[in-house]
Symmetry: C2
Subunit: 368 residues, 2 copies
């Protein structure tokens, strides 16, 4: 008998009419993977903010709370998985956090992927009042997918070397009780490159570090690391080739794919295209590798598309010229929207792509 | 060089967090067919109204107009196709109509599927002020998909026999200049059954009329009907087996699939599974046959799923018992949500299904 709650995800994040960020980057990929996705829109905007010109409406905390209440009354909060992304403002965020708590209480097996959308590259783009709310929500999460800056903000730790990276991860796991942390798209600084296990490093043929980004996954669950029982977590890492220019919605797509591929029971048969004979991947390493591989394939499609556009639609980023002629930026943004629809066979796993297997970071927790 | 406007649809209709009506029934199928779909939500509700308990927010006319203005300023209204469904209230509907006019002016080749959501089974569920706005919008449409009652309301014609049916279709084509009219899910009344061409009728093995619904498609374009040059349109019809009970969102799914499969140039290579050797289908007949076939396959999946649910989740409709115990209805509704995700291979055309080819209704326009 089919279960009414099998394969169901509640996604709470932003909506844009045009293009692929927030829910528009997350929902379709999850549907392609076979999930019924319930969709609560925290904002309804015309397009993402990168266009310069954008607008629409924001759901208030009261509207969100009312929506969740109605869904609860109708027995529609039975999903096994929860995905939360951008929520506008601290009050609305508190309503989402309260929902996550209720859902976790009702179903302790809830798989909650929390993407703590705070900012990027040293800049907050939500109110600072959101920070303590996210910190409180962390304990209910199964997986979090912060970027580098968000890890620094949440843990109040400037990450500048292996010791501060260890400290930040320890705070997330031990102070905030997050079982699984994934940090993707990390700029490959010299110290980080030097610290990475050699098999996780970019191939030697590449001269410039700027061509690669690192991804780190740290899990207190699943396969024990080679560190034995004393390390706070098993850490995996991988470098991925970085495509030129900026694409919006990549983090939202990646987080959705991590959730979609996360199978908490390690005994679940793996459809991994990794060569047989290799060691079984941990649930987090498996999910992250699939998410990295598919995200990279979609970005490659998007990049290929963008570079074939007329020259006017792919002018390089130039803040001065963009400010003088806003259409310049709009045209560039339009041409760089993710090619999710054209890449749906990739999302579904029907088109095989390069597999970025995560590499165990042996000795990560060892003090030098 | 890929065109930035190829295969793009703007969908303007309702959004529900849980389940599949409005945009949730339309967008995913169109994405599966390879369209980039831009999505403007006219309402953001928890679930469809059939649950009894539902709520959320409605976009105001000003919010919709502002959204369209921003999209226009950003050059994001270049899509080739427009799909409009439920819009709450006359003012908001007028904003959508104004957008359709602007889009049609900018691009006379725009393919606009207008679903004039007014009501069903003799009951209006929008304000009567919406009627003249829909009438004005009709002239900008390429295809409309009213139900039987909506045809009566729009044409101010009670349809009770072949003559009144001819009159209503003539009003839509000639007074309101609609090139393509599709009326689906028509109860198979005795006069209609008698009037249908024999090859469009249900198989003789079936005794009860209630097991079938009729679908009529009438087009002033494409392959000329056998009526010659004097008939207002070429009419096709088909009966489809009717599954027991009520399913929500079926009309929204059907309209989306008609738009998705509508190829205005008859020379476009057809991927129709119809036996080769038969006459080429007109663009409308082709689109409607595909939409009927896929919708029927999804309904069959949904019906199969619903009948395997625990008994409490599939109690039959009983207004008295439902009123006494609202949860009864909620459970029934939950179990009958369309199985779009599970049926995505059907939507995509990867799983072959029974093909409901439309039958030319020769002599439709002949007065007796």
């Amino acid at each position: 008998m089919p279960s009414p709650t099998a394969g169901r995800i509640l996604s709470i994040q932003s909506h844009v009419a045009f293009g692929y960020v927030g829910g528009k980057a997350a929902v379709f990929p999850l549907q392609c993977l076979g999930y019924d996705v319930d969709v609560v829109n925290t904002v309804n905007f015309s397009n993402h903010s990168g266009y310069g010109r954008f607008g629409g409406s924001r759901a208030t905390a009261a509207e969100l709370a009312k929506m969740f209440e109605l869904m609860e009354q109708n027995g529609l909060l039975l999903c096994e998985r929860l995905l939360t992304g951008y929520v506008p403002g601290a009050e609305a965020l508190a309503a989402v956090k309260d929902l996550a708590i209720r859902m976790k209480q009702k179903n302790p097996e809830l798989i909650y992927l929390l993407d703590p959308v705070l900012g990027d590259s040293g800049k907050l783009y939500v109110s600072p009042e959101c920070i303590p709310i996210y910190r409180e929500a962390l304990q209910y999460s199964t997986v979090i997918t912060p970027n580098w800056f968000e890890v620094e903000v949440l843990t109040d730790t400037k990450i500048t070397d292996p010791a501060s990276l260890r400290k930040a991860l320890r705070v997330l796991h031990e102070t905030y009780h997050v079982p699984n942390v994934v940090i993707s798209s990390i700029p490959l600084k010299v110290w980080l490159r030097a610290a990475l296990p050699s098999s996780a490093q970019p191939p030697h043929t590449t001269n410039t570090d700027a061509d690669f980004l690192a991804c780190i996954a740290s899990s207190t669950e699943g396969t024990p690391g080679s560190e034995g029982g004393t390390a706070p977590s098993a850490v995996h890492a991988r470098c991925i080739p970085c495509l030129p220019g900026y694409f919006s919605g990549v983090g939202d797509l990646f987080s959705a794919l991590v959730l979609g591929h996360f199978q908490p029971a390690p005994s679940v048969p793996s459809s991994s295209p990794a060569p047989s004979g290799e060691a079984e991947e941990s649930p987090l390493a498996y999910a992250v590798a699939h998410a990295l591989s598919k995200t990279h394939a979609i970005l490659t499609l998007t990049h290929e598309h963008a570079k074939d556009l007329p020259e006017d639609d792919r002018l390089p980023t130039d803040e001065e010229l963009d400010a003088r002629e806003p259409e310049r930026k709009v045209r560039r943004m339009r041409g760089r929207e993710l090619r999710l629809i054209q890449g749906q066979d990739v999302l579904r796993g029907a088109n095989k792509t390069e597999y970025f297997r995560m590499v165990p970071w042996t000795g990560f927790w060892d003090e030098p």
